[in-house]
Amino acid sequence: MYGLGLAKGLVVTFKNLVMPSRMVAIQYPDRKVGLLGLAKETGTNPLALLFKEPGQALKAMAGMATVSERLPQHARFRGEEFTWYEQRCTGCASCAKYCPLGIIEIVTSESGEQVQEGQKYNIDVFDIDIGRCMFCGLCVEACPYDALHMGSGFEEGTYRRADLVINKERLMKAPKRPSTWFRPQLAAAHFDPHKAKEGQDVEWSDAGRHEQPTLEEQEDKWAKR
């Protein structure tokens, strides 16, 4: 009583003011850095920095230099831009059927091969409207051939709603860094989309869940019967 509780409150706030471990704010797009911070970030010692790029160093001294900083994401993060392997996709449209919002538009046409034997359709249109998507991942869960994977980024903002529709070309060109959500084979391979550098995309052949049956197995399974 007698204000002891109030004093206890003050002690707690003072502890949070003083202890550096409590400073948890992450300055998202870029972090303001002083000269030493800049040196640590660019790996050069502060003096060399002064001579190499004086402009940057002076800005750093005024505490204005910025260094990009990101929230550490987990490999299983359901990102926004999908990863799609056209080699694996047979145009079965189970992703479009399974999406609760029905925002995947897929148009396929005859591909000439024998469709009964599991050959592919030609996919003419494959649009995902991520403007209305809630990234629940049911399409990725429903895809039987592991052709569609969740992406890993979240910075897909655009100025026009029409740009939010991901079309087939954009999916084919995009770097293949899928999230390991509902893809245990990627997790087993310890693939982390956020740390993958340039050349470390996941190829279509090893993005699949079940092992690829060799040609002989397929033949004796279908042709012989």
Binding site: G5, L6, N16, R22, H74, R76, F77, L138, P184
Partner: protein, 367 residues
């Protein structure tokens, strides 16, 4: 000649700093005193129950995340248990443990928000609120590890859990279990014996046990009146019967008791998680089953103890791929029955605090 005063009617409208979302309260004041308070809800009504009739049983899981958007895991758990009871699907052991761990983590996150916002309404300039959010961040990061999303988790499926926890989830959970009691002590240090908090919340907005039961109030609000009732003990589902924990109760049923019950429950949840981590064994996390479930004709009601109270789902199935009718027993909605009795007679400052102590989430009230 008595001073001619006239009651003022004010809309503590959908747009107000302390209404936990789009909740409108038409309040009639006589000066500072509340004469009459009438809740007007429906601003966040998305017709979840109508939408559910057009989706199959797995797609509805994404709908239930958006009900009580502060504790999505418990919504999933309640829904999924009802579907399992309807289609008598059994659940592997490891999935049960993963469900209880994520539900209890969610309870801590939800209680942190309730306590943080209660202090914010008391006027403590957002500092305790930021501390609570800082702790909640650890939990959201763990959810991101489990299911890829922080809030809209849709982690559970009828028949188990969508996917197993990654390896780096467990060390993170152990570290959380070790540090969380320390943070709770710090939070209590900031609040529990604080004279101003005591002065503002002691004997404010009291409801008695009989009133609470007659008003079908459940959850921490019911327990704060001294009624020791918790579905995790009354109807032990998943692994709650293999885990030892207590049900804290309040003594008088005022705002302070509601706050204290929530803090003690947070400690018990940490205790449950610790025992679950010790007892969990490797194994499958989901019983194999078709994507599209067709439960037999019939109806089923099942419920679980969400941080706000008893969250129940009543599903009627006509054998098709989507439910014929799904009714959600939302604790936040029903806990509002006694709002008028709790508020009348108190001042504006208390109105905000009492309303905050009931801890409703508008996604669940309006469905």
């Amino acid at each position: 000649m008595p001073i001619k005063t006239e009651p003022v009617t004010i809309n503590l409208g959908p747009q107000h700093p302390s209404t936990h979302g789009v909740f409108r309260l038409r309040v009639t004041f006589d000066g500072e005193m509340v004469l009459d308070a009438e809740p007007i809800v429906g601003y966040l009504h998305r017709g979840t129950e109508k939408l559910a009739e057009e989706r199959n049983y797995v797609q509805i899981v994404t709908l239930t995340d958006r009900l009580d958007y502060v504790s999505a895991m418990t919504n999933n758990l309640a829904y999924v248990r009802t579907v399992e009871r309807l289609g008598n699907i059994d659940v592997p052991e490891r999935a049960k443990y993963l469900r209880v761990i994520s539900a209890e983590l969610n309870r801590i996150a939800s209680h942190l928000i309730a306590t943080g916002f209660l202090l914010d309404e008391l006027g403590a300039f957002h500092t305790p609120l930021v501390y609570c959010f800082r702790e909640r961040e650890h939990i959201l990061e763990m959810f991101e590890m489990l299911c890829g999303a922080r809030i809209t988790v849709s982690y559970m499926r009828p028949g188990g859990v969508l996917q197993d926890a990654p390896e780096d989830f467990w060390p993170r959970l152990d570290d959380f279990v070790k540090t969380m009691p320390g943070y709770i002590d710090e939070l209590e240090g900031l609040i529990t014996e604080n004279e101003i908090v005591l002065a503002r919340t002691r004997d404010v907005g009291i409801i008695t046990a009989e009133q609470a039961i007659a008003g079908s109030i459940t959850g921490p609000v019911l327990r704060s009146t001294g009624v020791q009732w918790d579905l995790r003990k009354a109807e032990p589902h998943e692994v709650y019967d293999r885990v030892d924990f207590d049900i804290p109760i309040g003594s008088v049923g005022d705002t302070y008791d509601r706050y204290l019950v929530r803090v003690l429950e947070m400690r018990q949840s940490v205790r449950i998680i610790k025992q679950c981590v010790e007892q969990i064994a490797p194994g499958p996390v989901r019983t194999a089953g078709p994507f599209v479930i067709r439960p037999p004709v019939g109806d089923a009601y099942d419920c679980t103890e969400s941080p706000k109270g008893e969250l129940g789902f009543y599903i009627v199935s006509d054998g098709g791929i989507s439910p014929y009718r799904m009714h959600i027993r939302a604790p936040s909605f029903i806990n509002l029955t006694l709002l008028r009795e709790m508020l009348v007679g108190w001042k504006i400052a208390d109105l905000v605090v009492i309303f905050g102590s009931i801890d409703i989430v508008l996604g669940e009230v309006d469905r």
